[in-house]
C-alpha cells in the first residue's frame, strides 16, 4: 500500500494524496467535470488516490486528506455530514459556485416567505429544507475553486500544487482582463449585459469568449467598484432588473449588493 502512495520525480518521492469527493445540494456537475476531461483523466488519477467518489465508485473510506465538497447546505443532515467530513479532512476544498456562495440554489433565499417557496412546489405536503448556505457558513474552508461549473484544468492544477507542495494563486483581477487578452469584441457592443469587469478571473473568459455575457459565477474580483460597474451598465441601457438578475444569480456578489437585495415577494 505504502508503495502505491509514493511516486518519484527526479528521484525525489512525491506525495500522492488520498482524496475524497462529496456532494450536497447541487446538480453534481462539478464532480462530473472530473470525469469529463477524458484526455488528462488517467494522469490525474495517477496523481491522487481516490478513496471516496459516490457518483463513480462503490467503495468508501473515512481515511482521506483532501475533501472536495460540492453543493450548498440546506438541511440538518447535511450539516452533520459536512462536520464529519471537516473532522476527517486535512484540507477541505469548496468546489464550485454552490459550495462557495450557495450558487443558483440561494436564489430561493430572496423570497421573504420560505413557506411560500415550499408551497409553490409541494403544496401542503411538509418538506424539510432551510435557507441555502455556502459551505464556509457551516465549517472552515481551506481552499475554494470557483465557477459554475468548475473548470477541470483548475481542479487539476490545484491538486498538482498540493501534491508537489507549491502555493496556490487565484487571480485577483477580473474576467475582463482575460477577455481582452482573448481579443474578444466587448459584449456591451452587442447589447449583451456582462459582469466581466467585476468578476474574478481564472475561467479564461469562458462565457464571453462564446459571446455570452458573464453572470458572475466566480464571485467578485478583489477591490471591485460595483457602483461604477452598475453606472456603466445603466449607461449602456441595461435595466436595473437585468443587472440585479446577473448580480444575484450565483450568490457571489450578495455581500456587496446588500441592502438592495430582497425584491422578490
Amino acid at each position: 500500500m505504502a508503495e502505491s502512495r509514493t511516486r518519484t520525480y527526479l528521484g525525489v518521492p512525491m506525495y500522492r494524496p488520498r482524496v475524497a469527493f462529496f456532494e450536497f445540494s447541487s446538480c453534481e456537475g462539478c464532480q462530473l467535470q472530473i470525469l469529463n476531461n477524458e484526455s488528462t483523466l488517467l494522469d490525474f488519477l495517477s496523481l491522487v488516490e481516490v478513496v471516496n467518489f459516490r457518483e463513480a465508485m462503490t467503495e468508501q473510506s473515512e481515511d482521506y486528506e483532501i475533501a472536495f465538497v460540492e453543493g450548498s447546505i440546506t438541511r440538518d443532515d447535511e450539516i452533520k455530514r459536512l462536520k464529519r467530513i471537516r473532522k476527517n479532512a486535512k484540507t477541505l476544498v469548496a468546489m464550485g459556485s454552490c459550495a462557495c456562495f450557495g450558487g443558483v440554489n440561494q436564489l430561493k433565499n430572496r423570497f421573504r416567505n420560505p413557506a411560500g417557496v415550499k408551497r409553490e412546489v409541494y403544496g401542503a405536503h411538509p418538506v424539510d429544507s432551510g435557507p441555502v448556505r455556502a459551505v464556509e457558513d457551516v465549517v472552515g474552508v481551506d481552499l475554494r475553486i470557483y465557477g459554475c461549473p468548475v473548470s477541470k484544468d483548475e481542479v487539476e492544477k490545484m491538486v498538482l500544487h498540493i501534491a508537489i507542495g507549491k502555493s496556490i494563486v487565484v487571480p485577483k483581477y477580473p474576467v475582463c482582463m482575460e477577455c481582452k487578452r482573448n481579443e474578444n469584441i466587448c459584449l456591451f457592443e452587442f447589447g449583451e449585459p456582462c459582469l466581466g469587469p467585476v468578476t474574478r478571473a481564472g475561467c479564461d473568459s469562458w462565457c464571453p469568449s462564446n459571446r455570452a455575457g458573464c453572470w458572475g459565477c466566480r464571485g467578485p474580483a478583489e477591490d471591485v467598484n460595483l457602483r461604477q460597474m452598475i453606472r456603466i451598465m445603466e449607461e449602456h441601457g441595461f435595466s436595473e432588473e437585468t443587472i440585479t438578475d446577473r448580480l444575484e444569480c450565483f450568490g457571489g456578489f450578495l455581500s456587496l449588493m446588500k441592502p438592495e437585495r430582497g425584491k422578490g415577494g
Binding site: S26, E28, L32, A56, V104, K118, E120, S129, W206, A212
Partner: protein
Amino acid sequence: MKKTCTVNIRPLTRVEGHGNIRIKIKNGKLQEAEWSVVETPRFFEAILRGKKWDNAPWITGRICGICSIGHTLASIRAVENAFGIVPDEQTRKLRLLLKHMETLQSHTLHLCFLVMPDFMNTGSVFPLIKSHGDVVLRAAKIKKLANDVCDCIGGRRLHPTRTVVGGFTMLPEKRQLHEFSERLKEITEDLMILSDLIREFTLPDFERETEFVSLKGENDYPFIGGDLVSSDGVHMKEQDYKKMTNEYIVKGSTSKWCRLSRGSFAVGALARLNNNFDFLNPAAREVAASFDLKPVNHNPFMNNIAQLVECVHVVKESVSLIDELLDSEFGEPRQEVRPRKGVGIAAVEVPRGILYHCYRFDDKGNITKCDCVIPTGQNHANIQHDLEALAEEYAAKGKDDRELELLAAMLVRAYDPCISCSVH
C-alpha cells in the same frame, strides 16, 4: 439456500444523486422492498418566479449536471413556444446535433463508467484502468468526441453558453464540423467493439410488464418536440403533458412520482426504442437484433442495451446531419425575441427519458409560473414496482444478502437515475 435476508443500501452509489434501497425477506417471504429518494430539494420552480424569460434556460440548465444541455434545450423550446418563435432549419439541425452528442456522452458515461464495473466484479471503473485499459480508453475516446462536439456547438460541455432563445450566440466553423464528421465515422468501429464486449455480459433475466412513455416519432426517431405516446395506446399533444404525467406526492420522497394507465410507467432509452423502433437507423437496429432486443421488451436491465443501440443511432444520424449542415449556407445565428404574455410548453427526449418544461409569462416576459417534470421523477414508481417484483422473485429462490444487494443496485442503476434532477 438462504431464506432470510436484508438489504440496506444508503445511499446507492454510481448513480447521480441520493437514493436508498431497503429489502427485507423473512422465511422466503418478502416483507418490505423500498426505493426512497432522500435528495435535498432546490426549489427551481419557485426560484424562477418573477424572473425575466432569459433567466429560464440559464438557471434551469443547472437542474442537472449530466443533461444540462437537454434541460437548456427544453427550456428554450418552452420559451420559444410561448413567444411564437419557430426555429429555422439551421438552428434545428445544430440543436439536434448538440442533443445527439449529449446522448452519446451520457449513455457512454453510464454504460462504461457506472454500469460496467458490475459485470467485471469491481466497485468502480478505476481498477478497470489497469485490468481493461483498452476498454476504458475506448469509452473515454467516444465520450471525449461527444464532449468536444458539445464544446464546439454549445460553447461548453456542461452548462452550455451559446444556446439561447432564438438560436445560438455563435455558430461553429465548418472545418470543425468536417473534422467531427471524420471522428464520428471512426467511432462507429469503437462502438462495435464495445458491443462485442457487452454481448459477453449476462444480463439478469427479469421481466415485469409495464407502460412505456416517450415522444411519438412521425418520420424520425424523436428527440425534440412532438406528440406524446404510450405503449398502452395513449396518444396526446405536447401541451397536454400534465395529463400524461399526473404527478403526485409520496410520503418519504422529496421527488414527485407519476402514473398514467396503470400503477407506474417507464421513460428512457428502452421506452423510446419500444415506441419508435422502426425509426432507428438500420445500423442501430442491427445492434439491437444482435442482443435479441425488439419491441416491446419488458426487461428493465435491457435499458442498458437500448442506450448502446441509441449510441449507434445518434452517431450515424449525426454524420448525416453534419453533411446537411456542410452543404448549406450558414445564415444568421439567432432571431429576434419579442416577449409576449402566454404559456409555453416543451417536451424533449433527454438521455434518461422525456423531459417537460412549462412557463407562464406576463406581458413583459416575466415568469409567473414554472413547472418541470423530470424523467427520473416519472421512473420512480416504476423502479419501486420493479424492486418489489424482483425481491419477490428472488425471495422464493433464496439468494444471499450480497447477491440480492448487487441485483437490486443493478436494477436501479439500469434506469440511469438522475436523482437530484428528479427532486430539483
